[in-house]
Symmetry: C2
Subunit: 405 residues, 2 copies
């Protein structure tokens, strides 16, 4: 009897019909004698609707109260899923993140899992139940409700799989697996049978919508092999695991484009030591993730001043600007600009480590398309560039053609 953790995202539980579909799939595993833990997200649209309600009151609602509000989305899905399974005569019991023992720190809206004490999950499994756990949420040791941030339901699934030493972890979504690029955009994109944690992390962090980086990071850390597959069919998906030798033969495994980026620029920053530290300390304290950073050369208008630019996730832009604006007097920069009309194109592959000239070929491809490159960042297994948002589709197609075909 294997223990399987399955996670179903918002689109897989978007309405009662889809919830019933998932219940039938789960019932099938159960009939084959497996123990099943089901992690679910909020029905798609629910979380956004709740955020809209809160923002109709005030643009920047308290994060503690946002967590209190948003946690209800997943709580609704678990109850409905349990009811759907019971309707198929499958014993099932729902649990909030807190009840499932997901203990987090107190950073509201972006909490990190501290530890998992799945006592109730064990008991309910042993009593023959399918256990349905609310993804995306947890509770602090003091009993405060927290949420784990974007992609938090994947994290819940992978963390539970690790804590319960599950035999299998399946992340069900609305795509068949991980592709070399977005198939809607690049018709020649191919599904990958396997991908390494590192590649998946880069792809995740680079806008491939399948999963968030931190879930993959967690899976890597706790060696949870998981499969990304579709809840709409029975096709095998993509297995995510430690890299294998054969993976290194392929240089570029994926091309992604992240539209969720925004650029902040501080214009006329006095060119003295410690300014960047001031800026990014404040940004960090506000729990905003910064991706790329560049500092331009001074304009030389008499006084020495530079421009400082960095990128953040679009939803964090308002908060980032507020944090920076509060520093204006202290730092003395001249102006604060932002740009949401940008995107980040990336190529990823473990094979890059042992191949040179990859970045050059990327820049050349883009130049050939007449696309300007803003910022650049590289790692051992990826190269990313910031380009004009409107040029994203064209760029992805050209780069996929150049590297993958």
């Amino acid at each position: 009897m294997a223990l399987i953790v399955q996670k179903y995202g918002g689109s897989s539980v978007a309405n009662i019909e889809r919830i019933k579909n998932v219940a039938r799939r789960v019932a099938g595993y159960r009939q084959r004698g497996e123990q099943v833990i089901v992690v679910v997200s909020a029905m798609s649209g629910v979380t956004d609707g709740l955020i809209k309600l809160a923002k109709d009151i005030v643009p920047l609602p308290s994060e503690r109260e946002l967590d209190m509000l948003l946690a209800t989305g997943e709580q609704q899905t678990i109850a409905l899923m349990a009811i759907a399974l019971q309707a198929l005569d499958v014993p099932a019991i729902s649990m909030t993140g807190a009840q499932a023992g997901i203990v987090t720190n107190g950073v509201h809206t972006k909490a990190k899992i501290h530890n998992i004490t799945p006592r109730q999950v064990h008991q309910a499994l042993n009593a023959g139940n399918v256990v349905i756990v609310a993804g995306f949420q947890g509770e602090t040791a003091e009993g405060q409700i927290t949420t784990l941030g974007r992609g938090g339901s994947d994290l819940t699934a992978i963390a539970l799989a690790a804590a319960l030493k599950a035999d299998l972890c399946q992340i069900y979504t609305d795509v068949d697996g991980v592709y070399t690029s977005d198939p809607r955009l690049v018709p020649s994109a191919q599904k990958l049978a396997e991908i390494s944690y590192d590649e998946m992390m880069e792809l995740a962090s680079l806008g491939a919508k399948v999963m968030q980086t931190r879930s993959v990071e967690f899976a890597k850390k706790f060696k949870v092999i998981f499969e990304v597959r579709s809840s709409l069919n029975d096709n095998p998906g993509t297995l995510v695991k430690e890299e294998t030798k054969s993976m290194e033969d392929v240089v570029v495994r994926g091309v992604s484009f992240d539209k969720n980026q925004a650029k902040v620029t501080l214009v006329g920053v006095p060119d003295r030591p410690g300014v960047a530290a001031q800026v990014f300390k404040a940004i960090g304290e506000a729990n905003i993730n910064v991706d790329m950073i560049i500092q331009n050369i001074g304009h030389g208008n008499g006084s020495r001043a530079t421009d400082l630019s960095f990128t953040v996730d679009k939803p964090d832009l308002a908060k980032a600007k507020k944090v920076i604006a509060q520093l204006q007097a202290e730092i003395g920069f001249r102006d604060l600009l932002s740009d949401e009309q940008i995107g980040k194109l990336s190529i990823v592959g473990v094979g890059m480590k042992s191949h040179s000239g990859i970045a050059g070929k990327l820049f050349e491809t883009l130049a050939h398309e007449g696309i300007n490159i803003g910022m650049i960042s590289t790692s051992e297994i990826k190269v990313s560039v910031i380009i004009d948002l409107a040029k994203g589709d064209q760029a992805v197609r050209a780069v996929h053609q150049a590297f993958i075909g």
Copy 2:
């Protein structure tokens, strides 16, 4: 500095504008230096929408899972209310029933409050916060989420007022107070300045929509004086308290009509001892409240058989019929009938205790209107009759005219 518990029902928090209105009212009390605890219901329509989702899956969803589902309604309102207060610069913190220390038994969808351990509420009040508590919900000692049944938010408010020894408890609703009858139906209906717990309980149990019996019962038990008033204006409401001498001068204080009743009839029940006990034991175990019971005289078709009728709340009808149907073989009744086209008209007043002829005058008034009486039940301070649902409005107007004016 007084401690005030205020409860706002679903229509008072039906949308963001109304939530902001309530926040402004609460902020006003706070500015006058009061400590305020706010108990809220789900935004109107939310609970019904959730029940519909569950019933779209299966007609009789598990009650544990219904509680898990429905508790989210109030949890959404508390978060939004806290955000609305914070937007007015009033420190506020939301708490689920569990966080507020509402400990219940494990009877899902109709849980009873065991005790209240409002440690977190005290702490938050002492730290200067308005505390916003989710009505209608609690948690068992084992950490299971429960709901308190219809009118549960009133109960939460009154129980918190009792536990915290509040100076004042205000039940805000969409009516100005308790009237001698429904003013939409009876234009001459008058608002009562005061009413006794006993009268309020009878009115509550008889379909006056203002409050449920059990909340008033709880208030009486713990001597919580509370005021029923409108969230839409600043008019004084109706004070509910122990009866005073002056109250007894008025014979009939209210006329109500409960449309939420349904009648179940077991036809051809063998006339032997223990049958009624069997029936009502099973009904009781299913946590269904029975109101009136009558047993007709046998038809005398050779074998001795009787008809047994009783009334339940309409939402419990399906469950009641299911429970009874399972007893058919055991009991051997011939047929099971039900009727939703009935209503219960009642007259209430502590003054009745010392006046005779009240029931006779009621029956005469109805006879004069050509309205048939089905079942009858009486207590020291009320008389109730079951009549045709369609005749309800006519009956209430005639009876109000006869007793109150």
